[in-house]
Symmetry: D4
Subunit: 147 residues, 8 copies
Amino acid sequence: MEWNIYLSGEIHSDWRQQIIDGCKALQLPVTFSSAVTDHEASDAAGDVLGAEENNFWRDHKSAKVNAIRTKTHIANCDIAVIRFGDKYRQWNAAFDAGFCAAMATPYITLHDKDLTHPLKEVDAAALAWARTPEQVVEILNYVIQQQ
Amino acid sequence: MEWNIYLSGEIHSDWRQQIIDGCKALQLPVTFSSAVTDHEASDAAGDVLGAEENNFWRDHKSAKVNAIRTKTHIANCDIAVIRFGDKYRQWNAAFDAGFCAAMATPYITLHDKDLTHPLKEVDAAALAWARTPEQVVEILNYVIQQQ
Amino acid sequence: MEWNIYLSGEIHSDWRQQIIDGCKALQLPVTFSSAVTDHEASDAAGDVLGAEENNFWRDHKSAKVNAIRTKTHIANCDIAVIRFGDKYRQWNAAFDAGFCAAMATPYITLHDKDLTHPLKEVDAAALAWARTPEQVVEILNYVIQQQ
Amino acid sequence: MEWNIYLSGEIHSDWRQQIIDGCKALQLPVTFSSAVTDHEASDAAGDVLGAEENNFWRDHKSAKVNAIRTKTHIANCDIAVIRFGDKYRQWNAAFDAGFCAAMATPYITLHDKDLTHPLKEVDAAALAWARTPEQVVEILNYVIQQQ
Amino acid sequence: MEWNIYLSGEIHSDWRQQIIDGCKALQLPVTFSSAVTDHEASDAAGDVLGAEENNFWRDHKSAKVNAIRTKTHIANCDIAVIRFGDKYRQWNAAFDAGFCAAMATPYITLHDKDLTHPLKEVDAAALAWARTPEQVVEILNYVIQQQ
Amino acid sequence: MEWNIYLSGEIHSDWRQQIIDGCKALQLPVTFSSAVTDHEASDAAGDVLGAEENNFWRDHKSAKVNAIRTKTHIANCDIAVIRFGDKYRQWNAAFDAGFCAAMATPYITLHDKDLTHPLKEVDAAALAWARTPEQVVEILNYVIQQQ
Amino acid sequence: MEWNIYLSGEIHSDWRQQIIDGCKALQLPVTFSSAVTDHEASDAAGDVLGAEENNFWRDHKSAKVNAIRTKTHIANCDIAVIRFGDKYRQWNAAFDAGFCAAMATPYITLHDKDLTHPLKEVDAAALAWARTPEQVVEILNYVIQQQ
Amino acid sequence: MEWNIYLSGEIHSDWRQQIIDGCKALQLPVTFSSAVTDHEASDAAGDVLGAEENNFWRDHKSAKVNAIRTKTHIANCDIAVIRFGDKYRQWNAAFDAGFCAAMATPYITLHDKDLTHPLKEVDAAALAWARTPEQVVEILNYVIQQQ
């Protein structure tokens, strides 16, 4: 079985790459997907459909174009990893967690200890809380490879 | 038809009461539900099941007890109103939005204009964005009563 | 059993009222619902949330507010009646039919004979095609009351 | 991931071919499907099962045979592109849009600006509105290939 | 709780009435529904929509009108009782059983011992096989009333 | 796309082979599945689990073992072809049709003209009625290959 | 809202009555349901359909009759309470827990501390673990009544 | 078709290997999956995420990590084989059976005759009860290979 892993959340650190590299080193049978992580490209996703003067609608249009990608990948994933960093509000990450919870898709949260209180609802519906990408890799290795 | 309205999010202002009062004044056939909004009671929801030394597990236990209530009410609601204030991270509100999106439950977001960019994914899946409780009441009145 | 009947489509003739009156005369245990049929009010459904300079977004906003109502009523109905008149494009009526087909909700189409060719896909997924409101009433009477 | 794209709607212009060619030029990992676009063949789809004197039933039989194909492809697609031209009523396209909306399948509408008002409900449930096949190709390229 | 019981199958003996009377005598909180059991009325269900020269299409039209009723009642029932008599082919009864099986709706079959071999697939997916209406009543009484 | 075709019903004529051969001659991308068609083997499917003195339970046990296979293949098929011959009661074929109807799986019935009245409910939920295996092959060819 | 509470598991102590009494004392808006708790009646549930010489089939028949009741009540409940005592194997209780988990129905486990290791999978999918009926009542009171 | 077989339950005998070897000898097109069967590794599944002083939470954390694997494999399997040995309580096996029942996934139970009474609810929802791994292999061979 090839496992589809969706990587959701923070785009300002290299946690995705660390998980991808860690899984590659272990030769895990995994495929990764994710939202577009180039911030500017993501904000401009809808611009090709015509410029908007009103920022709300520019955001709206881009968010919907991005949703074509994210909904498809989340709906197809076996496991989601949802990362909360220490900056920004990252409501889209919590939104993805709620989506996974409703779809009964297992997800792992990845965040520091000082975020556990505000994330308690998100963690309660998760199947694991990791603090480091290495831990995520170890969990994936166990889940996929252990006899 | 009696409409079930779930009120999710911020618990530090009286937006819920404003919406409830506004609907009552219009005699709309609505029933409201919500998470427990007494912050201390909510944090202590699991304490009756035994004390925890580790705060993570206290939060975990309480969050799960609260989920018995919130999952039931969200699953039963016809419309959710999801409020983001200007303080705190309110990841549970975004989590509820993602849950509603996955369940195809219509939801209305309620937040100030300066939150539109970080909430663009949440707003894109919403069926309306309101800035004031009065606007929510007007939308509910239109949706339920207009001929 | 109280039957919920959703009346979708054309808003420029009194077909809804004829069906409602016909069912009332027969004392059928039915409740009717429908989109907002006041054309101007429907087009303005989102205006309370703020004016839009761009007509596309005004329409978009209003269509989403209307969807709060229509999705809820369609999801709750037992039978939909979907009316196509001889004017206008009425794509929303065909959209509702596709929605019902996907949800396995039985629906009856109501239209003249000269529309049967362009409506063949919509009629093929319907459980009945009626030409007059009286026929719809007779079908409802049979479905609900016949021993 | 191989993306399945369903192309629904107008059959009198070469928009399908333009999208297919555009995606091929970009070497996107996509597979296209569609209803039968040969109008005469489509109208005659049921004739092999026996001739019908009554045109309604000939249409009915053919529409059902065509539905074997279209339901399967729509149910299997990741993204639908739904095209409305300036001629004909194209209720089947709007029907497909409603079907996708109910199944939570992302879809992109493709139509001119002067159709935005009558298509507002269909566009409101879409994740993008494009005016040209080139825009659809750009959106697909972004959704599938962007890092 | 009010239990909805759907009574499917044979229309040439009074088994329905025996079950209804038996449940009434026990004052069980049940509501019964069923297809139209007047054979002629059922065959003519679609006639109000226009006469058909071709018997296949007359049957087709009537069967679809009847399906508005039967699909709704089966979808709403808590338990189906499916009766096979010793005459006629009664494929609609077996069809209803397959429908219930797919929907995970519990059903009880009611038929003589000499039909057990040809009905083995239908019985295998049933939760009980009864030979007499009295047995069905006793089962319903146990299921609903026993402490 | 590889199409999965489930062949249900009569086991006393070679209709399955005719369809398989016809599709092979056309090089259609199809895979066929079916219940076990060796009557004796099918009746004895459960014997390996221990002999039964009571024929009802022998049938029951075998029918359940067979259901492991049939439920899996029906759940995985894109199209079912359901054949009713002129002998036997074939309730399992009608059961399969009801199962497909509830799962929204397209199915084609295959039977002679003199069975149309007793099969009217089964045909009404089908997407095509064919009289010969050749017609089924032509329909499959059209559905799968036609441009 | 009236809450439906399903009480599953051990039948040899009075835990059900304690929960029912506790909720009544608090005037909670709850309705309780449960499997038949009279052990002998439950084992004999299928006897009315005919005696069985083979105990396996007697059990089988009774278990299926009981499933008519239990499946219906579990499918309708808002919350399940699942009790494991210190005697017997109580696999049906764990079976109900797995059923609830798959249906996303919130459940509370009720068992002593010395069972936590063998019940770890069952508890992990639960939303609360209580040791006493009083705790269950307090949780229900909080979930239903707390503001 | 490649069949996915999930092997649930007892980890203290070599029944899994016997089934795997038996299927390999018959060259059945099957893939097997299972929970982690190394007892110590399974109990320690969550330890990488941080040590726990409280055994309940250590179990809880490990059970959730294991659930990432088991939920995925059960959701993907075509058939589950669920084994109950004569030692331990094996509530997780019964939990898996309940999960399969709710998901309509066919399952085969594997246990000795003296467990039939306490397992009657679990067996009633199964499609076969086997006493030996050889019987399971024979059933799989029949289901997959028989013509």
